[in-house]
Structure formats: C-alpha cells, structure tokens
Symmetry: C2
Subunit: 430 residues, 2 copies
Amino acid sequence: MVDIATRVYNHKWKIDPIIRSLIDTDFYKLLMCQSVFRNKPDTHVEFSLINRSRNIRLADVIDEGELREQLDHIRSLSLSRGESTWLRGNMFYGKRQMFRPDFMEWFENFRLPPYHLEKRDGQYELTFEGRWPEVMLWEIPALSVLMELRGRAVLNAMDRFELQVLYARAMTKLWEKVELLRPEPDLRIADFGTRRRHSFLWQDWCVRAMREGLGDRFVGTSNCLIAMRRELEAIGTNAHELPMVYSALTDTDEDLRQAPYRVLADWHEEHEGNLRIILPDTYGSDGFLKEAPDWLAGWTGIRIDSGDPASGAETAIAWWKERGEDPRQKLVIFSDGLDVDKMLELQARFRGRVRVSFGWGTLLTNDFRGLVAEDALAPFSLVCKAVSADGRPTVKLSDNPNKAMGPADEVARYKRVFDVGIQKPRAVVV
Amino acid sequence: MVDIATRVYNHKWKIDPIIRSLIDTDFYKLLMCQSVFRNKPDTHVEFSLINRSRNIRLADVIDEGELREQLDHIRSLSLSRGESTWLRGNMFYGKRQMFRPDFMEWFENFRLPPYHLEKRDGQYELTFEGRWPEVMLWEIPALSVLMELRGRAVLNAMDRFELQVLYARAMTKLWEKVELLRPEPDLRIADFGTRRRHSFLWQDWCVRAMREGLGDRFVGTSNCLIAMRRELEAIGTNAHELPMVYSALTDTDEDLRQAPYRVLADWHEEHEGNLRIILPDTYGSDGFLKEAPDWLAGWTGIRIDSGDPASGAETAIAWWKERGEDPRQKLVIFSDGLDVDKMLELQARFRGRVRVSFGWGTLLTNDFRGLVAEDALAPFSLVCKAVSADGRPTVKLSDNPNKAMGPADEVARYKRVFDVGIQKPRAVVV
C-alpha cells in the first residue's frame, strides 16, 4: 500500500533543508553567545570555513546553487515558540533560567546575518562578517550543511537498495561500537558530533542508539534540538573562539598573555559547577596551566582537545596536585578525535585517579569509513573559525602544530608570548 | 506524518499470515507434484514433521493456538488467477507449458488437506495424511510456518529499536557474504532457502541482495512466489520423497533395489536438459551410481545433498569418466548446509573440471546466528518427510547416517539391499 500523501509531501519540498531549526546547533554555542552578548556585543568578527582536508575538493563535489539554497534557508529560520520555551524553562546543568531574559529576547528576534561565498581552487570560501554574537551562530550550521551536502552528492548516485544496505552497515558499525562500550561500568559519554555529522537524522539515530545501549552512561548530547526532542541533557561549556577573539583584541604582549585568563574570569562570574571547565590548549596547555591564577585550580575540570590525550590529562592531574587540589574530585573531558579503543584505553588508564568524561564527535555521528567506493563518505576535517576580530587576525596554536591557525608572523609572536616550545605534530583525522 | 491508514491496516489483521500464497513454496514441489499426479495419484501417504534439533522445544516456544491459526489459514488458500497464469504461461528451464493442462486444472481447485497436531515431550507432532499429490504440498509451508513462528516468539520480546538494529545487523551480515562472493567470476548460485527461512519478507530481501550483488551469477530462486514477483528463474528438480515413496511401495528386495531408478525413468520421460539432475544419496550414492543404468550417465548433472560434498563430486566425476562421459559438460549442484567459505572452496576445487552450481539454503535466508541473546534466532534442523506410503514405512539413508530415517529393522534391510557400507557421520547444522 503506497502512501501517496507521504510521497507527494516528500516531493513537494523545493529543497530538502539540512538545518530546520536555529537550535540544531551545539549547546556551548548558545552559552558562549550569551556570554559574548553580555561582554563583547559590539566586537566585529569574521568567521571563515577552513577545509583542512585539501584533497577533498568541495567545490567540485557540491553544487553552488544547492549550497546557497541551504544557507539561504538557514537565514530564514527563527526561534520557534516551543524552542524558546524550552531554552527559557529547561534545567541545564542543574540550573533553571540558564539563559537570561535579555538574551532570550534578543535571540527570539534573531536571524543569521548574510554570508559571503566564492569558489577558489576547488574549494569554497565561505565567510561571515558582523557582530560577534550574530556571526558566531553560523559555525555549526555552516559545517553541518557542507558535510551533509558532500554526503548527499555521494548518496545521489545510489539506488534505494544500495542506500538500505549502506544504512544497515552504518547501523551495524555503530552498534558494534556500543556493544564494545557496554561492559564498561563507569562510562560518561556525550554526543559532540553535530558539526561533522553525516546528517541530522543519522545523528538523531546515533543518539538513540547510545541511549538504548548505554542508558545513563550516555550523559547527553551537544545538540540542543535533539536534547529537546529526546528529553536528554544538553552538554557543552566553551570553546577556543573566546580566547582567540579576546586575544586578538589586545594591544600589548602582556595584555595578550592575560587574555585567556580574562575569558575564564568572565566565565567564572557567569557559571559554576560542571560548567567551569578549563579549555587550556588554545596557546599551549603547559604554559597555560603553569601561569594560571590559583582560582582556576578550583574549577571543576578540564577539556583535552588536542595533543596526546593521556599526556594532557597527566599534566592536568600533576597541576591539580601541585595546587593542592584532589584530582579524584576533578573531571577530565576528552573530546579530540575519539573512537572506542581510545576511550576504553583512557578510561582504564585514569580509573580511580580522576573523573573521566568523553565528548564523542565525528566518529560517533559520521563513521561511514569503508562503506562506499573510494571511501567517498569518510568524514574529513572541516572547521569554521573566527579569523579576525575588530580587524586583527586571530591565532590558534593548540597542542598540535597541525591544528595551528593564523598569519605566520602572529603565530610566531604568540608562540613567543605564551612560551610554547617544540610541539609534537599529530595527524588530524577529523 | 503518521500514515493512519497503513497503521490501521496493519492492526486489523486477526493474524499476520506467514504463508499468503499456495506458490510460496519450492518449485521442485510443483514439478514432483505433477509427476506424482500422473504416476501415483492414489498412493496414500503420511508426512510428518521431524525436529532434528531436540534441544529446541518447539511446543514450549510456539503457542498452539497461533500455530493452528497459521495452518488453518494455509488451508484456506487457493491458486490466484495471476499465479495460475504464471504457472501456465511462464517459461521454466527454457520450456513453456511445463505444467500440463490436466495438472493445472486440478491445482486450480486444490486446497491443502487437514492436518493433525499434538504436543508431545515439548515438541509438536504435526502430521498430514491422504493422497500423495495433496499431502506433499504441505511440506514447505509447514516448515516455514514453524520456523517463522519460532522467530516471532523471540522478536515479540524486542522493541522497535532493537528490531531495527537486528535487521541492520542481519543485512550487514548477508551483504558481507555477498561481497565475499562477488569477486568470483563463474559462480552460479540459486536460493534454496524457503523451508527454513527467517521469514517471507526476509527471504525476499535476501533474493534481492543476491541479485543486486551477483547479477546473473545469481541464477534464481526455488521460491515460486518470489520468482514470479521478482521475475527470476524458478529453480529446482526433484527430491528424496520420490525414491522414498517408490521404495516403500515395493514388495521384494529386488523390486526395492530398482525403485530409485524407476523414479528417474519416470522423470526421464517427463523432463529433459537441466531438469535431468540425479539425486543419488537416498540410499547411498556410491551404490546408486555403481548399479545405475547407462542412460542415467547421459543426464545433465547430479545434486550432492549429504556426505562430504567434495568426495561426492569426485565420485560423480569418476563415474562419468568410467561411463565415457565428459565431466566438463556435466553439472554438479551442491545443496547441503552451504555457506560462503564452503562454496568458494568447492568452486576453486572443481573449476574447469565440471560445471558447478550451488543451491544455497538456510545460511542464505536464515543466518541470524549470533544476533540475539542465547542465539535464540539461530536456524535449526527441521524437516517434514514422507514417513509411510500405503501403510508401509519409508526409509532414507543418505550419505550421512545422522540424516537417516525410518524404523530400525527397515533401515537395516535397506542397508543390506543397497549394499551400504560404513558411513561417516557428519554434524547436521541446518
């Protein structure tokens, strides 16, 4: 019995929108947006898409017209009544009214600002310019649109049967991962996979699978829309864009050296408990911790997002001990390129020494490696970063030189100011 | 958008029938039925279900009421107009009007005869008695109903998500098999998996997958309904029930010794080409070939359905040579408990020496091994056999003593008459 209504409904979409909600984004974007909205509302920033996987020529794969349609559609979105109610009324990290009324009023009237799109050398130059709180909300939808359009280009050549087998295999692959995680009693894993997901529906399925397989050990998702619909915790704190923009705005080396701490001082004022998570690697974790003010050692935890994760955690544990803190009360969140083996290894290594949590991203929501010819659905390394603030370039060093960003002379200056020595390069998979 | 009509439609079935068509059966049953309809229409037979996997207590797993509903539903089926048209008009094995008008008229008015069902020792005693051409058509639907009801009992305890993962994994498993077969250029594989399939829909999917993956190297299916709907070749020739019943009807040892050849003499009259396939193992292949009349060596091929398949094929090749036939013109059909490794091994061993074809059964259409707890969906060894003819017990020896059937004294007599020596027992998986 063919359901003609469903079929007609499916066909009458002029486009099949990838992003259908402003809160189909990462929770930390909203937290940071509120912070920026209060502390730096008028800072003028530029965000830019950067494809670190140059061999994937996105402009050859993705049709420009389709990309524009998707981006235009995103610009037409505004917060729905139900979404607003959820943001205003839901408890996040144990706190009601996480989002202040002034921020919510602004957000309810918010539309994403214009974008600039050009093709160059087989890549898309996609940039967003304007006031920081507005521009920053482009990051996640821009990334997920490009990821999904690239996937759709591959899927378009497949017939219905091939698609069925593809998704059966992808489900099996994910379920095998869940089965490997299952015996581990003390896991805490969250979905951090919005930005480089295969698709919205697939991310939603992954979240469902994690919940079914791990129960409460799956602690939530960074995706607000999925958190709302599936009644899960929305997870996330803050990211590199805060220290990057704060730093770009400084005038002197000394000012620059303090900028990352000022970010956290502002955060300290706004948030407590599990939202007080240090992200130390923007300009090298070792130097950051060494020079950190004592009040930072009182924070709940640290997020390790580059470099060797075990070393990063060891450094943090040593630092806490040095500052008279008990690491067993602290939380280490690993979030860089994780897959099952790495998580189990880290879990085993730090069991009983520190609380451990995982933000599992791309290899949760987009592990289509090996499933189609020429690995055309394998995830790749796409980011969307603040590249300038009030006309000054931003810099990111991280604990992996392959993740560094910014003009060469500025990178050199930052390395000097933050006393970053020789760093070990690590392959950036996703 | 919930499709209410579909939902209501799905719920209004009093039962969800497993068998919905009289031709949801193996093609060779219809060929044999026509032969029996001509040659032995009034023979009175009894068929009985035999669960060779005694550890699976079917009567504990399957509700008697549900089983009766399914069997009663099968008794209500009659040939539809389209099915009749297909049987009358389709080309089978290169021949039109394979089914004679008198047989078709009879079949168009056919309903399955009554069944007898009792519980004993945790098993069902399910028997069918009556005229041979009528009773014999119970075999395949009876087996597939029991297989599927046992599966449903397990599936009933699973929620929608678990079911989705289950079928994703089963699809992945099958597709991996297809991928392993794909590189092999000269395969000829048919689906022989109706009787012990997981379910009708699953068998249909397996057929679809084989066709997609192997193209013309997937030569067809034994299932008439699927062959009709998917426009594939219907595959099959004849089975043990013919020599078993012919043999049971004999009065003397000498008469018995000739019975298996009389079966094939009748078949010889009716069929040619690829339908002339010897099934030699009913009372031991070695003796059967040694004593066979010369005209049998002129037949197209042989089906190896028990014993060590490679030895069986070697014996046949040697026999053809001895009788002055060129084995490279002959066809060996393997059909006993096959899976991918075994098929690839046999294919490699006999390449260039004889034409090879595979009838892939249970491990094509029901390989749910390892997919649920306690392996509760693993296939098991269920058969439905003629146990008596005109009041005399039937006997089957086969090339594997674990597959032997019949009263002990009769088995002993048959072994003597057919000069069957010591046989090597082999595990019966499916």
